[in-house]
């Protein structure tokens, strides 16, 4: 822990809730805001058994609001051609239930929400991939968005520069799964599964994934293709194509990205100085145990950072491959 000057700035800790129980855990563990999605393809974590019904969202709002915690609803996939009703219904339900903000990516949906529900606070999803001031200012001007979730492709100085050129809040990812791609533009998994996170809310849909134990080795298959094989003592990762191991020139290795997770506890003071307003913890698909531990640790780390200290918490037990990274925030490769 190192001492720095305390800041009077606020930093909102935005935490994942894949289920009602996870929401209660996040609220009790110290979240300032919780985000979730409906149980359908309108959100980018459309996993089986996960997410909220309309009634569950109403109960979640009561629980969170009674404890002074905000509720943000993600409707952040792109409306499918010819069947936009679920997305429109999701926005209408969010407005009716009075969520604190709705997280959108689709331009048509942003336009609908802005015109139909002007009282509804709009956040621009990371899925919109708005990574420069001109784009963000366009969304702010046209749809009155109040916050942008920045893609995980920017360095800390780039985030600072963007904050100096825009008048809305910025939210950045703080912990959890990493994508090597610009969000909202990745179709890698759809090449072999036919489904993508942008349109269907799933990257490597569970129906296409199988794990095969070969002796002491673990083989991961996606849509019939073997994409990774872990040795007896090797920590495993998610079955995504971007984290598959491929053989090039006879050497198997990670072409896109190793199994690793983002963790910014060691650069929180720099992110605060760069002018961010909120930190997002990834992991609506993870368990209550994950939510509890990560939120509690980030609460401590954020409070320490705001009082001028640096509290680094590795959380290797929860990370993919047992590794942490600050990803593009400390980009050294370009």
């Amino acid at each position: 822990m190192t001492n720095r000057t305390p800041t009077t700035k606020k930093l909102e800790l935005v935490c994942p809730a894949g289920t009602p129980a996870a929401l209660r855990v996040a609220v009790d563990a110290g979240a300032d805001a919780v985000y979730m999605g409906f149980r359908d393809e309108t959100n980018a974590r459309n996993f089986p058994g996960l997410n909220f019904s309309v009634d569950e969202l109403a109960e979640a709002l009561d629980y969170a609001h009674e404890r002074g915690v905000k509720v943000l609803l993600a409707v952040n996939t792109y409306a499918a051609a010819g069947k936009g009703d679920p997305w429109i219904t999701a926005v209408d339900n969010a407005a009716r239930l009075k969520v604190d903000a709705i997280i959108l990516a689709d331009v048509g949906l942003l336009d609908y929400a802005h015109r139909t529900h002007p009282e509804l606070r709009l956040h621009l999803s990371v899925q919109a991939s708005a990574s420069n001031a001109a784009t963000i200012n366009y969304y702010a001007r046209e749809f009155d968005i109040r916050r942008v979730v920045l893609p995980r492709v920017l360095t800390v100085p780039e985030i600072r520069a963007i904050n100096q050129q825009i008048d809305i809040e910025t939210e950045v990812f703080a912990f959890g799964g990493m994508c090597p791609m610009a969000e909202g533009r990745c179709s890698l998994s759809s090449y072999i599964t036919g489904k993508s996170p942008n349109m269907n809310g799933v990257c490597s849909p569970a129906s296409a994934v199988s794990y095969v134990q070969e002796g002491r080795d673990l083989k991961t298959n996606l849509a019939g293709f073997t994409i990774n094989k872990f040795g007896p003592h090797e920590r495993a990762g998610y079955p995504t194509l971007c984290k598959g191991r491929f053989s090039t020139n006879g050497d198997p290795g990670y072409l896109f990205e190793e199994p690793t997770s983002l963790n910014v506890t060691n650069i929180l003071p720099e992110l605060i100085e760069a002018g961010i307003s909120a930190l997002k913890i990834e992991g609506r698909q993870r368990s209550k145990a994950y939510v509890r531990e990560v939120v509690q640790n980030f609460r401590k780390s954020v409070d320490a950072a705001l009082s001028g200290e640096r509290l680094i918490i590795p959380m290797d037990n929860l990370t993919e491959g047992g590794h942490n990274t600050t990803g593009a925030y400390n980009k050294k490769w370009m």
Binding site: A21, A206, E320
Partner: protein, 234 residues
């Protein structure tokens, strides 16, 4: 799934207890398990709602440190849960759609919401095979509500709940004390072998690095020779 209690992390009081109770009939434990499953269904209907798409799916849960396995069969509006001895070669068993294996306490902690399933999977403490979509649905459904397994078990004791609770807490303390002691014994036995393995691994890595460097030098030399050969030929 075969009852396999070989890794050092499985050397726990449960392993010993499992060996001791192995000759006993399974019926009382099976009844207790069915009772707990019914209680969970009655007290957590939202979980059943999330499991509805899985009607007909058969799960096999295999605690690697106990001589039993648990079969979970999902119906339209009910869950049937049964205990059976693991590895019964003469018994006719319907194949499971999903098999989940891990230490008993990891599995219980995961169900109680104290352990993260993905973290256990990453660390290879949990093994899963079969229908991944069904597995994820079950995991998410169980995680969507707060299940207190201890309270569900205690409810079975009716008016004797309080003494049962005292007995359970004492058992819990005893288990943790025994687990600590057995861990010390395990480390004392496997420590020297583990040190030797680490030494060998380091030596092996050193040799691999040296071989890699030699291969690089060999490629460079071959390239130089080819260039030289072309120069001489011209």
């Amino acid at each position: 799934m075969i009852y396999q209690a070989t890794p050092a992390e499985n050397f726990t009081p449960l392993l010993v207890a499992g060996l001791m109770i192995r000759p006993l009939p399974t019926a009382p434990l099976d009844r207790l398990l069915s009772y707990i499953a019914r209680r969970i269904q009655d007290n957590h209907p939202a979980i059943l709602e999330r499991l509805r798409p899985l009607a007909g799916t058969r799960f096999l849960i295999c605690p690697t440190d106990l001589p039993y396995e648990i079969e979970l069969v999902l119906g339209e509006d009910r869950v049937d849960c049964h205990l059976r001895r693991s590895h019964q070669p003469d018994t006719e068993v319907t194949a499971a759609n999903v098999t989940i294996s891990g230490s008993f306490l990891s599995l219980v902690d995961m169900m109680d919401g104290k352990q993260d399933g993905d973290g256990l999977f990453f660390s290879r403490s949990l093994t899963v095979t079969g229908d991944t979509e069904a597995l994820l649905t079950l995991r998410n459904a169980v995680d969507s509500d707060d299940i207190d397994l201890r309270a569900e078990i205690l409810a079975r004791f009716g008016p004797l709940k309080t003494p049962a609770e005292i007995f359970m807490s004492a058992g819990d303390r005893l288990y943790h004390r025994l687990a600590r002691d057995m861990s010390v014994i395990s480390r004392a036995i496997t420590g020297p072998l583990s040190d030797r393995c680490e030494d060998l691994e380091q030596e092996n890595q050193g040799l691999r690095d040296r071989l890699g460097r030699l291969e690089q030098t060999s490629v460079k030399t071959r390239n130089r020779l080819q260039v030289l050969g072309r120069k001489i030929a011209s």
